[in-house]
């Protein structure tokens, strides 16, 4: 598989009073087309910084970001982001939010309507097309944010702890839906989380980061044909193969937390 997106030697150093702080050691990371890659690590390991750099919202101190082998340039609709805090535009309806990127790109009206309808259907939002964000629950808002990011048909979808602000039940439902969508539609996704279970459940590959300063410690492949794929998260979590992968990742992270 060819790399859809590649981070090559990407590092980040913040200038602070009294010197420099190294947030991220040079990191190499590839995401193949149709692959779901999750970055996990303890808080402060620089995974969010890595995500902002991947999105083009922050400049790396060194290294480069490639999409389809070419420099990715500034932030834009080829790499859309789902933020932890939803970041919906409050003055626009659900449908307008989803259409935002398409209207900015001057996509013709009929095509916009078609794609918005498609996203509303995929994310189970059809009843809420005319609602404003403040009228929706957190889970519904995050569905809109995902639909908005997917509507522009990005090369890669970047998800920055997207379920971190949701209650446990809503989170489970969304995890299962994202997993289902991924098995059907094979988006290319770079996902950030601190939940090992979430990482295993959703991913083809899990990248474990260590902190102080942040660097990539290990990558662990999660087989697409694992016996728990397609199960609900509760059920999947009880399978021996799932627990095995989860424990393997958790050991790596626990080392990090204990060591510091």
């Amino acid at each position: 598989m060819s790399a859809k997106m590649e981070l090559r030697g990407v590092s980040k150093t913040f200038q602070a009073r009294g010197g420099e702080t190294r947030a991220l050691e040079p990191c190499d990371l590839k995401v193949a087309s149709g692959e779901f890659v999750t970055v996990v690590g303890p808080s402060g390991c620089g995974k969010s910084t890595l995500m902002m750099i991947a999105a083009g919202l922050e400049a790396p101190s060194s290294g480069e970001i490639l999409v389809d082998g070419r420099p990715a340039g500034p932030a834009g609709p080829r790499r859309t982001v789902v933020f932890q805090r939803f970041a919906l535009f409050p003055s626009e309806t659900v449908a307008q939010n989803i259409a935002f990127g398409l209207r900015v790109a001057h996509v013709e009206r009929a095509e916009i309507e078609r794609r918005v309808a498609e996203q509303l259907r995929l994310m189970g939002l059809a009843r809420f097309a005319g609602a404003y964000p403040h009228e929706l629950s957190g889970g519904m808002q995050q569905r809109v944010a995902i639909a908005r990011a997917l509507a522009v048909q990005p090369d890669i979808l970047l998800m920055d702890e997207p379920f971190g602000a949701l209650d446990a039940q809503t989170r489970t439902v969304l995890q299962e839906e994202v997993s289902r969508l991924q098995r059907e539609l094979h988006y290319t996704v770079l996902f950030i989380t601190h939940s090992v279970e979430e990482a295993v459940y959703l991913s083809d590959r899990v990248v474990v980061m260590s902190r102080g300063p942040g660097r990539i410690k290990r990558e662990i492949a999660v087989p697409r044909d694992a016996d728990w794929r397609g199960l609900e998260i509760e059920e999947a979590g009880n399978r021996a193969s799932f627990l095995h992968t989860k424990r393997e990742i958790w050991e790596l992270i626990r080392d990090e937390i204990v060591r510091h």
Binding site: L57, T80, F89, P90, S91, T93, F100, H134
Partner: protein, 280 residues
């Protein structure tokens, strides 16, 4: 006091408050009528308040009728009000036209902020009336002078609230817009300004009120028309009724201006429910 009766008392207080909250217009009108009745009674008792100090409500209503029908000091009441509103509109429009774009620029361009802020902070502590003499020297006793005073009174609230509103827009929204391909102009128009609008509207309400009050003050000092001029002529002619008609007109017009703006705000921001219900 037992727990049950304490709960009852609290319940009674709550229902009392919510009755006033349910029908704010009726309660407000009742309060105004009560005030009017007190005034009527005070002036109806012979020798209690001399008419020269406080004319009766009826006298004021009659004076209101005559001021509408016949010119006084150069114009009818309608004419004076129109002149005042025209001066006010000019000043306020200038304050909006300059204050809103500048407020946005100050929020988005830190270097500009560094240059402009010290001078602005100094200037805005000079009261609008302190500008009247210099305005008269520059523009004479003209509409421009009056409008300039309105502008000076209204401008700070326009620019400060706009700057505050724009700089308080969550930067994550701007980032989200960027990742969806929006440039600066689109982000400003479709994300930043709508989110900033409620605070900008609050600034406009303050600006409109400040402008209106400063205008009346300026008209007391300079000019040959307008509601402020009308009440100063009432004083010269020893007519308390004229003064009260002028004062009431000033108050009612000011309240109407605010009401219209609130209505506009409601229509302009349908997605913002909280501002629709001031009594809840």
């Amino acid at each position: 006091m037992s727990g049950a009766s304490a709960t009852l008392a609290a319940g009674a207080r709550r229902s009392g408050a919510s009755a006033a909250a349910r029908r704010p217009a009726a309660y407000g009108a009742a309060a105004l009528l009560g005030l009017l009745a007190l005034w009527g009674i005070a002036t109806a008792i012979p020798g209690f308040v001399p008419p020269r100090v406080l004319p009766s409500p009826l006298d004021v209503v009659l004076r209101f009728g005559s001021l509408i029908a016949e010119p006084f000091s150069g114009a009818t009441l309608f004419g004076h009000a129109l002149v005042s509103l025209q001066r006010w509109s000019l000043g306020v429009l200038a304050a909006i036209g300059l204050g809103l774009p500048l407020g946005v620029a100050l929020a988005w361009l830190p270097p500009l902020r560094a240059i402009v802020t010290p001078a602005f902070e100094l200037l805005r502590y000079i009261p609008p009336f302190a500008w009247v003499p210099i305005a008269v020297l520059w523009f004479g006793a003209t509409t421009t002078t009056q409008a300039a005073i309105v502008f000076i009174a209204a401008f700070p609230a326009c620019i400060i609230n706009t700057q505050l509103a724009v700089s308080e827009v969550d930067s994550i929204l701007v980032r989200a817009a960027r990742t969806l391909g929006a440039g600066a102009a689109t982000t400003l128009r479709r994300v930043v300004l709508p989110v900033a609008a409620p605070t900008v509207f609050t600034g406009l309400r303050i600006a409109f009120g400040n402008g209106w009050m400063a205008l009346v003050g300026a008209e007391l000092i300079v000019g040959k028309q307008g509601l402020g001029f009308l009440i100063s002529q009432g004083q010269i002619n020893d007519s308390a009724a004229t003064i009260l008609v002028g004062m009431t007109t000033i108050g009612v017009l000011g309240a109407l201006i605010d009401l219209v703006l609130q209505r506009v705000q409601r229509l302009a921001l349908p997605w913002k429910p909280s501002i629709v219900k001031p009594f809840e």
